[in-house]
């Protein structure tokens, strides 16, 4: 089976991110990152079609955190990590559950059931782990769940209730959301994408590529017609987190003087999804984590948006160019 060529290691200044905020977060997280030695690569277990690549997606990245403390004498600030994409497995339960801990804010719901649901759907869904890691830590997760197929599951019912409750406070979108969750649910996919804060953004285009590729393969490869149809998504619903500026008069500011943006996106692809979305709204979150200094004027909010499936190719293009721009940033930044 042809293997995707491994990316060459490129020393570059770290962290490569898009905003001072993300850099601050990444810097904070880097101090406690364990020093991993790269091990010999074996092909990953992800079964794929031979016509396309992605047999084993390995991304070797060298990272040089600024001013991080060394826990042992050998640590010279360079962390090497080989990330690999895998199908969800039952073993990943604890890692996936940890990533989903704050998915519905502070709601008490069947989180374990939701994690199990994601892990059972092996045809569509990707889990990012480090190759040969003994701890089997899960660094990122991406999947799409058909809301009609799983409508009887307790966790999905509670999730729908949560979304509708938040939408009821927002004029106009409530009815559209109810339609999507009710009658039109056959073609609606819940796009779940969670990751550790400091995951290198270079992985994102590949992560989303593999997810949307799997969705289109599933429409042809699934054993029954029902299952095949269940992946013919027309809409994706996304539930995410953003930081919104506390000051409502942001809109008056001139672009050139704009040192503080109205919305800071925790996940870079959310900005693209937001632009392409059919509708979206924010709601306040009850968990308020202590924000880093650069974010003291911002409040964390939940964001619910829906994107039509035919906008996805545009999304993939825009995401690739956004990330690649980030790559070409000068070394000193």
């Amino acid at each position: 089976m042809p293997r995707k060529p491994r990316r060459k290691q490129r020393p570059k200044s770290w962290p490569v991110t898009f905003s001072p905020f993300a850099r601050a977060l990444a810097r904070m997280a880097s101090v406690s990152k364990p020093n991993r030695r790269s091990k010999s690569i074996e092909s990953s277990e992800k079964p794929t079609r031979s016509s396309t690549s992605n047999g084993s997606s390995k991304h070797t990245l060298e990272e040089r955190p600024e001013g991080s403390e060394s826990s042992d004498g050998e640590f010279d600030g360079v962390v090497q990590a080989d990330f690999a994409f895998f199908d969800p497995k039952p073993n990943d339960f604890h890692g996936v559950k940890t990533l989903l801990q704050t998915y519905l804010d502070v709601e008490e719901w069947d989180l374990s059931g939701f994690a199990d649901l994601i892990l059972e759907q092996t045809t569509v869904g990707t889990v990012v782990k480090v190759e040969d890691d003994e701890d089997e830590g899960v660094f990122a997760l991406a999947t799409a769940l058909n809301l009609w197929r799983y409508r009887e599951q307790r966790c999905i019912m509670k999730l729908k209730e949560f979304l509708l409750l938040k939408a009821s406070q927002e004029k106009g979108v409530g009815d559209q959301l109810r339609l999507l969750l009710g009658e039109r649910a056959h073609n609606v996919g819940l796009l779940v994408s969670q990751r550790v804060v400091n995951l290198p953004p270079q992985l994102l285009p590949h992560l989303y590529d593999s997810l949307f590729n799997e969705v289109s393969w599933a429409t042809e490869d699934e054993p029954t017609e029902d299952l095949r149809n269940s992946f013919q998504f027309k809409h994706y619903i996304i539930l995410s987190k953003i930081y919104k500026h506390k000051n409502a008069e942001q809109q008056k500011r001139k672009r050139s003087d704009d040192r503080e943006e109205e919305i800071v996106y925790v996940k870079p692809e959310d900005e693209i999804f937001h632009e392409l979305s059919s509708w979206s709204f924010c709601f306040p979150l009850r968990t308020q984590q202590p924000a880093p200094h650069e974010l003291k004027n911002y409040r964390s909010m939940g964001l619910i948006m829906t994107v039509e499936a035919d906008k996805i190719p545009t999304f993939r293009q825009q995401l690739a160019s956004l990330i690649n721009e980030g790559w070409r940033q000068p070394e000193g930044v």
């Binding site: 339960f93 604890h94 801990q101 502070v106 709601e107 008490e108 719901w109 989180l111 374990s112």
Partner: protein, 245 residues
């Protein structure tokens, strides 16, 4: 009889609560349903006290105690200390100790007769433990881990330890503790036993991810199947009344 529950979607209930034969402590801030499970199981038999320690909710991991006493870290505030002294039964000696290893729940595993402690605990602390808790103290490791309080759950009738504990270690610990021990997991394969469950002589509470198999192991090693609280509390009461006569 073991009950499954969770604290704000988190199955590590042993972090947010502490259970002994004489009292139960619960963290503030969880939803009322967390507290009410304890109330319904234990209410009327032993006091269920809502508290924080050092302003945090991780009460289960910061303190160590049994029916005779309760040890608190030096970070406990005066108000919390007073609140606990007021709420717990009079025969429980509540003491705040100066120990640099302040997560006492992670360093000390004890029942009403024996305690296992972290190997680096101060001599002075060891003496206070023996004195306040009325136990015999042993410095031990469990499966090579020095945080003995985290990797085992202990009652007067049995104990559950880290799954990788060897047979020889199990035998040795069992002889020291004088109770049957079993190596197992809680919360669907978690090795941090004490974070996932709390137990006393007649009841136990486990995180809701605990599988049926894990639960049956817990009920069997701690002999919870036929226990009724009244039997054990009556025994305690008899010995208390003796002291009046």
């Amino acid at each position: 009889m073991a009950t499954r529950l969770q604290f704000e979607n988190n199955c590590d209930i042993g972090v947010f609560s502490k259970l002994t034969n004489g009292y139960c402590m619960v963290a503030i801030g969880g939803s009322e349903s967390f507290y009410s499970v304890f109330e319904s199981e234990l209410g009327g038999v032993i006091p269920v006290v809502k508290t924080s320690i050092a302003g945090t909710r991780i009460v289960g991991r910061l303190c160590a105690g049994n029916k005779n006493g309760l040890l608190l870290p030096h970070t406990t505030t005066d108000q919390e200390l007073q609140h606990l002294r007021n709420s717990l039964p009079d025969q429980v000696v509540v003491q705040r100790i100066e120990e640099k290893l302040s997560a006492l729940g992670n360093c000390i595993a004890c029942n009403d007769h024996v305690a296992l402690t972290h190997t680096d605990l101060d001599r002075e602390t060891e003496e206070i433990i023996a004195d306040v808790l009325g136990v015999e103290v042993f410095r031990q490791t469990i499966a090579g881990n020095i945080l003995v309080g985290s990797f085992c759950a202990l009652s007067n009738r049995g104990g559950l330890v880290h799954p990788h504990t060897s047979i020889e270690d199990l035998d040795e610990l069992s002889t020291l503790l004088q109770v049957p021990l079993v190596a197992g997991t809680v919360n669907r394969g978690s090795e941090v036993i004490a974070a996932g469950m709390i137990v006393n002589d007649w009841t136990s509470f486990c995180g809701s991810d605990t599988t049926a198999t894990e639960l049956s192991v817990i009920e069997s090693v701690f002999k919870l199947r036929d226990s009724q609280p009244s039997v054990i509390v009556d025994e305690m009461r008899k010995s208390l009344i003796d002291s009046y006569v």
